[in-house]
Subunit: 247 residues, 2 copies
């Protein structure tokens, strides 16, 4: 049965997140409903990253086996055609033939996330569901410098959600850059994989460095404390976007 | 009575546009409703650009006279406070004291618009209400080169809406750049003022240059024809954003 690698974009606002839920529409269930219409049979759609409710994706990757001879182009257009009556928030950007042993989640060698902050006094209109509004002045350079202390292979328990299902809290953070363009501050994070809420929890602590309430070295101390209760708040979901998955 | 210059951002999706309407919420009427709550009296809010339904703004400018002693900061926060129950789509980003003779519309010396195209086969999800989806391949460099032929002082009748209220079709186009970043193609337009639908009509004709259906010199011929029926379609409103007003 031909396997396809899908690149998927979604606006997560109001959706239950990636994973199938019994009570609310999720990105996975919407894609599986569309795939069923296209293929005439239920097909599992396996995603690289299980994004939470309200989180967006510009480059989520998934795989699906379609029991029907279709070209990649027809898989993309067919899924989009059948998605259209279900939602306007999810689109399949690309479909490619993939080897049988390609697994969107287990074959992935890296995941890239972007966390967007709008740093200004006025509330948000254009970016309301796309960014975290932080009114107090942030020092993005200070955030960036402190963030570098988290790079490498560590126990990230201090930035781990209590419901995280990962077997180990050990992760290797490859990139944590903070850039600024006027009132837009963006955190760029990359790792082979992340703990549940890790990026949002790091963003919450970076806010405290940026607004000066915490000294920069506090971030590294938090890492060593391995204690979630000492870290900052969990940044809200709408600022987060899964931008890319590497294989 | 103190006059304030307001910088305003809005997501125009579903709104009637800038100007007050009898039947639907417009940006102007929402701001006037908020100003009435803040000032205890009806105040006219005069905008620099009368954007159409569905068009966005990142830097619309307006002026308003508030018959109450308030600091600029309190005008901004007060308007946003009273806007909140009415809409999440409009925000006052900045308020500044302005001289009595400052007029948001007549004092303006330039207006900048951005028109966003997403050029790819797959339909849009993240940019659904923020860009024009064009599936056929566009050559952005060809669009940019042809666009330069429209610069300067001309009769823009070929790119003018039939309901345009401007006294003259003569306008001076100062900038019409087309840039590309992957699948994102952006048209940047600047002039002292524009005719009704001028930017959207130029975008519609630039599509025909970009997809190769028209030769590049056709754009300049259209300008000389002074005939709206020969030009391209009117590009849809959601791609357009008023980015800046100069004084």
């Amino acid at each position: 049965m031909p396997r396809f690698k899908l690149t998927i974009e979604y606006d997560g606002t109001g959706l239950a997140g990636w994973q199938r839920q019994t009570d609310r529409a999720s990105v996975q269930s919407l894609l599986e409903d569309a795939a069923e219409k296209l293929a005439g049979a239920r097909c599992e759609v396996v995603g690289a990253g299980r994004t939470d409710a309200g989180v967006h994706a510009a480059g989520q990757v998934a795989h699906v086996d379609i029991p029907k001879p279709l070209s990649p182009y027809n898989v993309m257009q067919g899924l989009n055609y059948h998605l259209e009556p279900l939602t306007s928030q999810v689109a399949v950007v690309k479909a490619e033939e993939a080897p049988d042993d390609f697994h969107a989640r287990f074959s992935a060698t890296g995941r890239g996330y972007r966390y967007r902050i709008v740093n200004r006094q006025a509330r948000l209109a254009l970016d309301l569901n796309r960014a975290w509004h932080i009114p107090e002045k942030l020092d993005a350079q200070r955030m960036h410098d402190a963030a570098q202390g988290l790079l490498g292979h560590h126990d990230f328990s201090s930035f781990r959600s209590s419901i995280c299902q990962s077997k180990s809290p050990m992760k290797t953070l490859e990139r944590l850059d903070v850039t600024q363009d006027g009132e837009d501050i963006t955190i760029h994070a990359r790792a082979r994989s992340f703990l549940h809420h890790q990026v949002r929890n790091m963003a919450g602590s970076l806010r405290m460095i940026g607004n000066g309430k915490w000294p920069p070295h506090r971030l590294k101390e938090l890492l060593e404390a391995k204690d979630r209760t000492q870290a900052g708040e969990t940044a809200p979901p709408q600022g987060l976007c899964l931008t890319r998955v590497w294989y």
